[in-house]
């Protein structure tokens, strides 16, 4: 083979092997993407407690009217709009200075949020030093509503080094046609092993269960999350786990938010007594026992907010679809097989303009 042909072959091989797939699909279990802050800060040496936070940050658009979840009419946001919200999110994080944060709906490479890698940006602007990211929605183009290129998902950010992290695939929605499913979200559990001083096996686990499925996909997602925590428990590991479970706490006063969430111009709103179909994402009794989905978690592990407190009043509600509404349902949780410091669980409801979810924090005791 002469040099010219060899060079041609090498160039062609490089081009072909480096081609990028249009839509990214995932193995059942694969390594998550690891991050590190541009400049790391010093880590606490001998903490007796850890502050853990979970926050669905709505990809850094605050309460801007996104078409997908707030009766909005926009799908693409400017760099300035996103940066303004990210500044406020970082200010909130820095004021609390958590040791570990479980993020949901965080974008890393999305046209809708000016392609800002929000994991890297938050690492670079807080005391958090290391990160792990698992894509929930990754495609070079979403051919709908001008969404375009997207990479959004869950992340664990930590002051301590993340030794390894796995992305665990959850079942896809069962109530969609094939084409929609192909371009739709691939939800996951992200499990990160964190190197905390004097701890051999400490994990942070985050998930974001389906919001809009009207079949029992959510049941499968919560079951998978529980299975993963049980595996850690049975291997004598410690964990903090949580996220936006898109489920109401057992015993919550209401499981029907169809009327609350309706958009202007909606002609048919099905409420609890009407039967279905109910508004996607606003009804929490689509299948048997859905209102009690989280019971096994409350029965087995320590919650950031004890159940009786969580369902009493509105102090710990974490979600509303519109910033003009008060927080009206609890969807965001932290559970652990460590001890939660009594009364440390807090729902930060002063964040109503920063996301459609409020962050939840608690202190856990390290043995």
């Amino acid at each position: 083979m002469d040099k010219t042909r060899w060079l041609f072959f090498v160039i062609m091989a490089w081009f072909i092997t480096s081609c990028d797939p249009l839509i990214t699909t995932f193995d059942d279990v694969e390594s998550a993407v690891l991050y590190r802050a541009r400049n790391t800060t010093s880590t606490p040496a001998n903490n007796s407690t850890l502050q853990v936070m979970t926050w669905n940050i709505r990809f850094g658009i605050g309460r801007l009217p996104f078409f997908g979840d707030s009766c909005g009419d926009r799908s693409i946001f400017t760099e300035n709009e996103v940066m303004t919200t990210l500044d406020s999110i970082v200010a909130k994080i820095n004021s609390l200075d958590p040791d570990i944060v479980l993020f949901q709906e965080i974008d890393t490479e999305s046209k809708r949020t000016a392609y800002i890698d929000q994991v890297q940006w938050i690492l670079d602007h807080t005391n958090l030093n290391y990160g792990a990211f698992a894509s929930m929605w990754k495609s070079q183009v979403i051919p709908s509503d001008g969404i375009g290129r997207i990479d959004a998902g869950n992340a664990v950010l930590s002051k301590w080094k993340i030794e390894s992290a796995d992305r665990i695939q959850l079942p896809l929605r069962g109530d969609q046609d094939g084409l929609t499913q192909l371009f739709y979200l691939r939800r996951n559990i992200l499990k990160a092993k964190i190197t905390i001083p004097n701890q051999d096996s400490f994990y942070a686990v985050v998930t974001h269960s389906t919001a809009f499925a009207t079949d029992n996909t959510k049941q499968k997602h919560i079951d998978s999350f529980i299975d993963e925590l049980e595996r850690l428990e049975s291997s004598n590991s410690f964990f903090v786990g949580g996220g936006d479970l898109n489920s109401i706490p057992p015993g919550a006063l209401s499981h029907d938010f169809c009327e609350t969430d309706q958009c202007a111009g909606d002609t048919q709103v099905h409420v609890n007594l009407d039967g279905g179909p109910h508004r996607e994402g606003s009804y929490f009794n689509n299948f048997d026992n859905e209102p009690n989905l989280l019971e096994p978690l409350y029965n087995s592990y320590a919650p950031a907010i004890p159940l009786d407190i969580a369902i009493a009043g509105s102090t710990h509600t974490t979600h509303s679809t519109d910033s003009s509404f008060p927080w009206d349902r609890k969807l965001d949780y932290i559970f652990t097989n460590l001890n939660v410091v009594e009364n440390s669980g807090t729902t930060h409801q002063d964040t109503r303009l920063l996301s459609d979810h409020a962050p939840v924090t608690c202190l856990v005791t390290i043995p």
Binding site: F15, I16, S18, C19, D20, R38, F67, G68, G72, D73, R74, S75, I76, F77, T78, E79, E109, K111, T113, A114, Y115, I116, D117, Q120, W121, D124, Q140, V141, P143, S144, D145, G146, I147, G148, R149
Partner: protein, 264 residues
Amino acid sequence: MKRFAIILFITGLFCQQGLWQSGTAYTLPEGRWEVGLFQPARWGQGQAREISFYKLSSLFIPNISIKQKWSKLDDFVLSTNHTLLYPTPLLKKLQSPLGMDIGEPNMFALISPEFDIPPVIIISNMLLISMPLYSDRILTGKIGVSVAFGGSGLAKESTIDLPLVYHRLAVLYNGWSVRFGLDMNGSIKKSISYLIDGDILLIPGMKGDMAIEHKGMLAWKKSHRFQVSLGYKLVYGVYPDGYPNKNITRTHLLPLIDFQWARD
């Protein structure tokens, strides 16, 4: 020798008169039409002038190109190609191909309906020089400049960040772009010809400011009137990014197929 003479004859017949070869400096013989399924329709309007336009897409993107052959010095042929495009109807259609509003769901919309699309035109001018090489090959060099008018009101967030599309429409947002290219045409057999080309598109001053494209095509000529082409396109593109990088690179391999018919 006999074989060489045949190849030379075929080259002269099919190549040097521009038959089936839209990328060279040669123009179609006067009166000849060539129409491809995906390739533009071409018409030899005069002895040294060719007019072409994209057919189906003309409904949404009115366009016309004129290629004028200026001179032939020794074996060199020099032409210029001038294209006028009005992409506004296409861009508006891409905001809602199925006539849906945002969130309905608005399937297949590649541009968010939230953006206003103003009237905008693109004018492209290209200089082409073709020269025959040994073994029946033709080498064509190209250099071109595109300018856009009326795109200043376009939100930069309304770009379509896809291979082939982004760098061609980037002129709308940037106001101008340049293009360099080399084509090699040749024949393998009497009825089988090939095309290998490479292009560089530059949009100075804009995020995602470059693309390198390479195409390889084999064409089978059933007759003077019909041709089938099969090939690939490799695109190495720089696309817009945000933080921490301003740009991101992607490589894509795309299949190409076309059926072309001709009439003299």
